[in-house]
Symmetry: C2
Subunit: 344 residues, 2 copies
DNA sequence: TTGACTTATGCTCTAATAGAGTATATTACT
DNA sequence: AGTAATATACTCTATTAGAGCATAAGTCAA
């Protein structure tokens, strides 16, 4: 259990903080045509993503905001993230949770590739301030533009059958042995709900990693420096491994929603139940049974009706307005809403 | 989103890998008096825990194994951990999962406290090789010796009523305002299942942090340099923030057991159902209903009976021997065993 | 050899919950 | 007034969870 001190202190190891800042764009207030889209805070262009100034790149593209970890001023990495987000963006996140620490070799590819190792502590942050100033360089991106196959709200995305399944089939058949083929096939089936297996909305990361391995996303083509003479899966790519970090955040958030009342971090102070439902559906990526959702939410005690107040009706009976009951957090050991899985 | 390069590269930031290596000591093979105790791999004495050679301490005590992260030879931090564990210990962990990255200021307290910042990427590793050579300095420690209040297998631990509740009551009453008192009280109730709230076995970390804040564990007395003229909660303390890391691992493992078949990483290749049950109970910290556990496990398809084979009976009808069905992992999207919470 | 004891295993009963659907209420619009 | 749209209340059923009883298959000691 002895080790050389020198190994550790070499220059060229950089610690940074990556943030997946999520909000939900509530297109309108209750009533007819209520819409909700999950958004991620994106910075575009190398000079923004490379705020530590040490990771040169020639590529342009979408990236997650990335800030320095300053051991002198930051008590904890999480406080560091909060202060950096507060200083550098117009966002004040309510909920912040550490996701994962990413430290793969080669995750930052630049001229100094071999010298430099970037360790990123990834965070998930939730906010309901979706109306922030944006520009061409800094904006809220629709998270399903990066992961279109994750959006089952209007049924199974077509590309799964037309692009992903054929692509994976090719990858399965490219395996060496029959054994390896079987292994690849079962993995593909499990991830993408093929062969009678149910789709699991939490497997966002596993699916992305599988597509990467099967070289069906641009990042794989880029990192492995291959020529893609076949159809890639639709979806916006990101710089570095940021799409992987985003996938990690989506998996985590989809899981968390089921047992902790984090949705409310994404809601305005007053909302209708449809409003809340559309927000949950937006995150989970699939539709829910309206009456049962209502029963669930009302019986959970997480929410209280605002007496008298009604939403501005738009094409139907006006809905009651609700607010989050902060007190509920103090009454039950692990409040949340048990959400059903998608019907496979 | 610009930052100074200098902030990052200062010397005095060390990245290390901490491992919570868990095994279960199966005291005997099925039959009467079957016992199981969860164990953690412990190193005692500063020279072992400080293998990076940069964190001086005067104290002696139990610590988690800690290894360097070497950007030159480690493709990923997880591979770094695996290789370091393999080289430096007799353990070959099967399952490894990243837990959390700890980087609080002051988590390593030494002469150079203000200069040095240690960032530890914490890992949870599971193994069933509990029979490894040990010494006075390196051994398997009973994890309930560090967290005796977490063991409800033989009912509610007495110390909760005799030491923890009174200690927390004092802490509640020491709050400034009535509001703050109420807040502290509800927090204590939620954590420790007081006032009619059910005990939640997953809140290991929250409970430890509460005890720390209420200065009822030695680490708080040590870090805050106060004089403890009152009774501390029983339980072995650890160096640095290692008991917090262990608590994080326990929380994670208790949660994971409910939806992923990780128990089998802790089992020998053949086992009886009682054996399996005792192992789950050991991790979860509370007893389970035997017949229902059997129904659950058998219907899950995670396990198959070994035809003909029976356990060596010890005082009763011999039990059938089972083995883990690896194939089950490939059949269902998220296999596991839904475990009931402790009856509040 | 038999009866007491111990553990394993099979089965039943009941309460709670989840999933799906029907029915009615309240609004706007034509 | 009638139609469309949404909100809300309620019902029905299948599944699951929690608890306990009954029987099986061994050991051990008198």
């Amino acid at each position: 259990m002895k080790a050389d001190n020198q190994n550790i202190k070499k220059p060229g190891v950089v610690i940074g903080l990556s943030a997946v800042i999520v909000s939900v764009d509530h297109r309108d207030s209750g009533g007819a045509g209520t819409q909700a889209e999950p958004m991620v805070f994106i910075v575009r262009g190398a000079e923004h993503t490379l705020s530590v100034g040490v990771v040169p790149t020639n590529e342009d593209g979408d990236a997650l905001p990335f800030g320095p970890f300053d051991p002198d001023s930051h008590e904890t990495p999480e406080l560091g993230l909060r202060s950096w987000v507060k200083d550098q963006t117009p966002i004040v996140p309510g909920y912040v949770e550490q996701l994962y620490t990413f430290g793969n070799r080669g995750r930052y590819i630049g001229q100094k590739q071999d010298e430099l190792r970037v360790i990123s502590i990834g965070y998930l942050a939730l906010t309901h301030q979706e109306k922030t100033r944006t520009s061409e360089k800094v904006f809220w991106g629709d998270w399903y533009s990066y992961f279109p196959w994750e959006d089952w709200r209007r049924g199974k995305p077509e590309m799964i059958g037309t692009v992903i399944e054929p692509g994976l089939k090719k990858w399965v058949n490219a395996a060496d042995s029959a054994e390896a083929k079987l292994h690849r096939r079962t993995r593909a089936n499990l991830c993408f709900g093929l062969g009678g297996i149910a789709w699991d909305e939490e497997k966002v990361l596993e699916r992305y990693e599988l597509l990467y391995e099967a070289r069906l996303v641009y990042e794989a083509v880029r990192d492995k420096k291959i020529k893609a003479d076949y159809t890639l899966v639709p979806g916006t790519s990101m710089l570095y491994d940021h799409r992987r970090i985003l996938a990690t955040a989506m998996s985590r958030l989809r899981g968390k929603l089921k047992y902790r009342p984090v949705v409310f971090e994404l809601m305005p102070s007053e909302f209708t139940l449809l409003h809340l439902q559309k927000t949950v559906e937006a995150i989970m990526g699939h539709p829910l049974h309206k009456q049962n959702f209502r029963r669930l939410v009302e019986s959970s005690g997480m929410v209280e009706e605002i007496p008298g107040k009604k939403s501005a009706a738009a094409g139907g009976r006006p809905a009651a307005l609700f607010r989050f009951r902060r007190g509920a957090l103090l009454e039950r050991p692990s409040p949340g809403m048990k959400l059903p899985p998608i019907g496979g």
